[in-house]
């Protein structure tokens, strides 16, 4: 069973439907105990960084931290990825989980913001999550802040400046784009996560 963490930041329904479409059982939950029982965990999210406050106030953050430490496969999507960094300029007063170093920053003024639409992945190195996909593949992004490049980055996107589009470390995976809204390429990524 895949647990989709519902912390009130939207798009849980579309993630659930995409998983159902590829034949994976999943349930939406806001219960820390359900995360312990889950084989895999997806942390979706879209919207303002402030929505991640719910992690701290509900104990979900601590539960997720435990699962990440134990090696349960976890996939963060969009805000669910940014929250794994130290902080975001979108809500500087809040802290992220700081699994990855650095802070998420606004786009340079030379480009429109938010970054909305289908953009290309520049895949570097080997990635279990992106297995079968080639550099240049288009996926759907919608975000106003971007995560820095880190040594765990496996795909970047160059919009304004290069930023992390996907990263992985052991069984922890995260993507800035929305695999549940990225057509066949996105469904392939979700399928990869389910078999990682």
């Amino acid at each position: 069973m895949i647990a989709i963490v519902d912390y009130g930041a939207g798009n849980v329904t579309s993630v659930k439907r995409a998983l159902e479409h590829i034949g994976r059982e999943c349930s939406v939950t806001a219960d820390s105990a359900a995360l312990e029982r889950a084989e895999r965990i997806i942390v979706p999210g879209v919207g303002h960084f402030r929505a991640t406050e719910a992690f701290a106030s509900t104990g979900l953050g601590a539960a997720l931290e435990r699962e990440i430490a134990q090696g349960t496969p976890v996939l963060g999507i969009c805000l669910g990825m940014q929250w794994l960094f130290e902080s975001s300029d979108e809500a500087p007063e809040l802290s992220g989980l700081a699994v990855f170093r650095g802070r998420c920053q606004a786009f340079p003024v030379t480009v429109k913001s938010p970054h909305v639409g289908w953009d290309q992945l520049e895949i570097g190195g080997t990635s279990r999550l992106l297995a079968g996909l080639s550099s240049g593949v288009f996926v759907y992004f919608t975000h106003g802040y971007a995560a820095p490049l880190v040594k765990e980055t496996v795909a970047r996107c160059s919009y304004g400046a290069p930023h992390t589009a996907a990263l992985e470390r052991g069984n922890l995976f995260a993507v800035q784009f929305h695999p549940e809204k990225s057509g066949d390429a996105g469904l392939a990524i979700l399928e990869n996560f389910c078999t990682c």
Binding site: G10, N11, T13, S14, R17, A18, E20, H21, V46, G47, H48, V109, K112, S113, P114, H115, V116, G117, W118, D119, Q120, F138, Y140, T142, H143, G144, S158, Y159, H178, E180, K181, S182, G183, D184, A185, G186, L187
Partner: protein, 255 residues
């Protein structure tokens, strides 16, 4: 590179696509979900479902369509038409839409933009603007109520305000070009695109591939929307995208 988006718009009345369609192998040419899937397979980057139902019952049926579309569509889709409150926006998003388009209600009550953006994020709020050129040609006015009522507001001022209030994208329709197949209003689109730093979707006037190329280049549009032209004039979105790619315009080709 960020691609230019081609958005297919379906006008839905009481759960059925109005405006004729000519796909021969569709089981049901009036079913919005089947058509939307068809567009998605042909390479549409996004789907807009515009509910033009005049009755409450028709709108309830439309919500059912949104629910079904959410189960079958794995590209972004926006729902617009008559959304007048946060509760209505929430119902549509909870049914499966990724974004809502607001128009007349946002003009009457601009706080609606803030309310939806605060609850669901700016990326979920598309502000639709119906623009008509003033008689003297100097600027454009915003019209409301499906383009039947002039508001006296200046388009550029309104899109700036909408952006400040939390709009994530602007869906800009040229009333002068809508239905003419004479091409998008590139001048209007460019003015709006420069006025706000958020993405602008051009609409109204699509007739041929050259119109899309023009609105992406001269109009600086981030996306272009059309409805019937994908059924008649242009063959399919796939062909349109190949033509645009030949002209050096970045588009995403379907798998």
């Amino acid at each position: 590179m960020l691609s230019k988006r081609i958005i297919a718009c379906l006008d839905v009345d009481a759960g059925r696509v109005v405006k004729g369609v000519s796909f021969r192998d569709l089981r049901d040419a009036g079913d919005p979900v089947e058509l939307a899937q068809r567009h998605s397979a042909a390479g549409a980057d996004e789907i807009v479902l515009l509910d033009i139902s005049a009755t409450r019952r028709g709108r309830r049926t439309a919500l059912e369509v949104v629910r079904r579309a959410g189960r079958e569509l794995f590209i972004p889709f926006t729902v617009g038409g008559g959304i007048a409150s946060l509760a209505q926006a929430a119902a549509v998003i909870e049914a499966g839409a990724d974004k809502v388009a607001v128009n007349s209600a946002a003009l009457e009550n601009p706080h609606l933009i803030e309310a939806i953006a605060t609850r669901f994020g700016s990326q979920a709020v598309v502000v639709a603007v119906d623009a008509k050129r003033r008689r003297d040609g100097s600027s454009w006015d915003v019209w409301s109520a499906s383009g039947s009522r002039p508001t006296g507001r200046d388009v550029l001022a309104w899109v700036r305000e909408a952006k400040e209030r939390g709009a994530g994208e602007i869906l800009l329709t040229s009333m002068d070009r809508d239905g003419t197949k004479a091409g998008f209003d590139c001048e209007l689109t460019a003015r709006v695109s420069v006025a706000v730093r958020i993405p602008v979707i051009a609409s109204g006037g699509a007739g041929g591939a050259e119109h899309f190329a023009c609105v992406f280049r001269e109009g600086r549009a981030d996306a272009a929307l059309a409805a019937s032209v994908f059924h008649y004039g242009l063959g399919s979105i796939r062909r349109l995208k190949h033509l645009l790619l030949e002209q050096g315009i970045p588009v995403r080709l379907p798998c």
